[in-house]
């Protein structure tokens, strides 16, 4: 699908209207009975003003931040999540969501003519700005996709750390693919494969409903599988949240190392104190790290090359490429039947050669984009490996600012929380 229609829309409409004047000028029959034809029913969309959505989003984010950081109330966070699910999910039908707005923003960066309405811009920016100050409060209770999964996470179990880390790579792949499909003009992948939006508007393709239902079922035990292992917007929030100013902390005051919270986090987002007994000495570790750093360009090169090699497969994401392939195969007599698309193509004015040329140009774009995508994945891989081999010392049980979704589950496990009557701002001590 071409996403550039928007800019040309005005022009198109003008041209179209112009053409119609010549086409449809033929006068109506003259009715003797004084018949008057009914008017056409062309209702306009009953849209809620953008300001309402932005305000609700802002208030919900603010309330969550307040509940997490100041009030430290899991119930409050949960209530806000219910509200978000109802408002942003079922009432606003889950569109536009901040997760999807990522695509509009990226597309606007690629295509200068692609307009981004203010509401989309705000939906993209507000969660990030809040993450910069309060961590991923958006994920905690405002995101309708997160909320619906949060509702389902009834008896979460912990995923082994190595698996968690590895599956986490998928979010980067999804982000990379999203950008790739935007760069190549393929379309909005996040919207296309949004698993839960079908529930919000009570209608989706059968397959997507199954996927969505399956994810929710899994989510009963493996909490928030989409957020943790797929969500591309989560990657951005994770990066920003690392620099958050007032992030949720497990304990309201001093950590007493009681280890009660250790298993409370279903997201594996609690950093445990680093044990003092290193299995490898500092020098070996440094050597390994050095080797890894040296190897990194090689790894990135390999993945970039792999991406480039695989571009033909990925190029099939693009409808024009698929159509060109189909038409070419039909031309050669490989199919007895034509498809709706090839019929429509033949009914049009374009010659096959032009279609092939267009498809070749798109394929070429894919070649570059896939190389970049491959390189990006290599970079992510190396980054993960480096992060795993660099030991950052921590002495207390604290939230991993990147992974923590600020769900406030752990608060209840902290005896310090239970013991202290008025909660002091834990960050008051600088």
């Amino acid at each position: 699908m071409k996403l550039k229609h928007l800019a040309a829309a005005a022009l198109l409409i003008f041209a179209w209207a112009h053409e119609t004047q010549a086409e449809f000028r033929f006068p109506m029959p003259e009715f003797e009975s004084g018949y008057k034809h009914p008017e056409m029913n062309t209702p306009l969309p009953a849209r809620i003003p953008a300001a309402v959505d932005i305000t609700v989003l802002f208030v919900a984010l603010g309330a969550t931040a307040w509940s997490v950081v100041k009030l430290r109330s899991r119930s409050m966070v949960f209530l806000i999540a219910v509200f978000s699910l109802v408002y942003f999910g079922f009432y606003r039908k889950g569109c536009v969501c901040p997760v999807g707005s990522l695509q509009n923003i990226v597309n606007a960066l690629i295509d200068r003519n692609f307009a981004v309405p203010l509401v989309v811009m705000m939906f993209f920016l507000l969660p990030l700005v809040f993450a910069l100050y309060f961590g991923r409060v958006f994920c905690a209770a405002v995101c309708p996709l997160g909320a619906i999964q949060e509702m389902c996470a009834v008896c979460p179990v912990q995923v082994p750390r190595p698996v968690e880390t590895t599956l986490g790579l998928l979010t980067y792949a999804y982000l990379g693919l999203t950008v790739l499909s935007l760069v190549t003009g393929t379309g909005f992948l996040i919207c296309r494969y949004d698993p839960f939006i079908g529930f919000f508007r009570q209608g989706a393709s059968f397959n997507m409903s199954l996927v969505g239902g399956g994810l929710l079922l899994i989510g009963v035990f493996v909490a928030r599988p989409y957020c943790r292992f797929l969500c591309p917007f989560g990657v951005l929030l994770r990066w920003v949240s690392l620099f958050s100013r007032w992030h949720a902390s497990i304990t309201p005051a001093e950590c007493i190392q009681c280890r009660l919270c250790e298993l409370s986090c279903p997201y594996g987002a609690i950093v445990v104190p680093t044990p003092s007994d290193r299995p490898v000495d500092r020098r070996t570790g440094a050597k390994r790290l050095g080797l890894l750093l040296l190897l990194a360009p090689v790894i990135i090169g390999i993945t970039a090359w792999t991406g480039m090699t695989a571009h033909e497969m990925v190029a099939r994401l693009h409808p024009t490429v698929r159509l060109a392939e189909r038409v070419a195969a039909e031309e050669r007599g490989l199919f007895a039947e034509s498809t709706i698309d090839s019929d429509a193509f033949r009914a049009g004015k374009q010659a096959p050669a032009e279609l092939y040329a267009e498809a070749n140009a798109i394929e070429h774009r894919f070649k570059h984009a896939c190389a970049w995508f491959g390189g990006f994945m290599g970079l992510v891989l190396c980054g993960k490996l480096i992060r795993l081999s660099v030991i950052r010392k921590s002495s207390d049980y604290e939230a991993d600012r990147g992974a923590c979704l600020s769900c406030a589950r752990c608060f209840a496990y902290c005896p310090v929380e239970a013991g202290e009557a008025p909660v002091e701002d834990p960050h008051a001590r600088s």
Partner: protein, 187 residues
């Protein structure tokens, strides 16, 4: 956003990032774009039938509309009757619409009015094809905006073989076939 004046480098960066984001939002807002909606251009439509099946809604938000001023008010209507219809009555064997969403009312000899019942219409475009082949093309498909949920990426647009879908201004919202005002004066 209230921010206590602090001197930390990180705090400064945060404020800078916030200001930059706000600036970006401001710039975008000033680009002056307005809300848009998805609509299909009947001049490009090929009546493939995907509007009925690919919409995220069930039944589809695409319905057949009727531009009465273009209609010939024919007795033998290509959009209403099966191509090989033996009679011109409302019998199911003669009707083209698979859900019986078109009603036919007598106006005066020899004219008939055809009306689409949008509650029944599924947007399959069978009548549109009939009307275009044999008639004036007064029946055509449009996205009805009281039903459309306004997806970020329209699922029909993505699968439209004729690239007939586009985003248009919410103020117009429809791409209607109309006669120009000039010929509206009738004697």
């Amino acid at each position: 956003m209230s921010d206590k004046p602090t001197i930390g480098r990180r705090d400064f960066m945060r404020v800078a990032a916030t200001v930059a984001a706000g600036g970006a939002a401001w710039t975008v807002a000033r680009r002056g774009d307005e809300a848009t909606v998805w609509q299909l251009d009947p001049a490009k439509c090929v009546q493939c039938g995907r509007c009925a099946t690919n919409c995220v809604l069930n039944p589809s938000a695409v319905k057949c509309v009727h531009s009465y001023p273009i209609c010939g008010y024919c007795d033998l209507c290509g959009g209403y009757l099966q191509p090989g219809a033996k009679a011109r009555n409302t019998g199911a064997e003669n009707e083209l619409c698979p859900v019986g969403a078109i009603t036919r009312t007598f106006v005066e000899e020899p004219f008939y009015q055809y009306t689409i019942d949008e509650k029944l219409c599924v947007g399959c475009g069978k009548c549109v094809k009939g009307c275009n082949v044999f008639g004036n093309g007064s029946l055509y498909l449009q996205v009805k905006h009281d039903l459309c949920v306004g997806c970020n990426e329209c699922a029909i647009a993505r699968n439209c073989p004729a690239q007939a879908y586009q985003r248009i201004s919410v103020r117009t919202a429809y791409l209607l076939k109309t006669r120009d005002s000039g010929s509206g004066k009738q004697g």
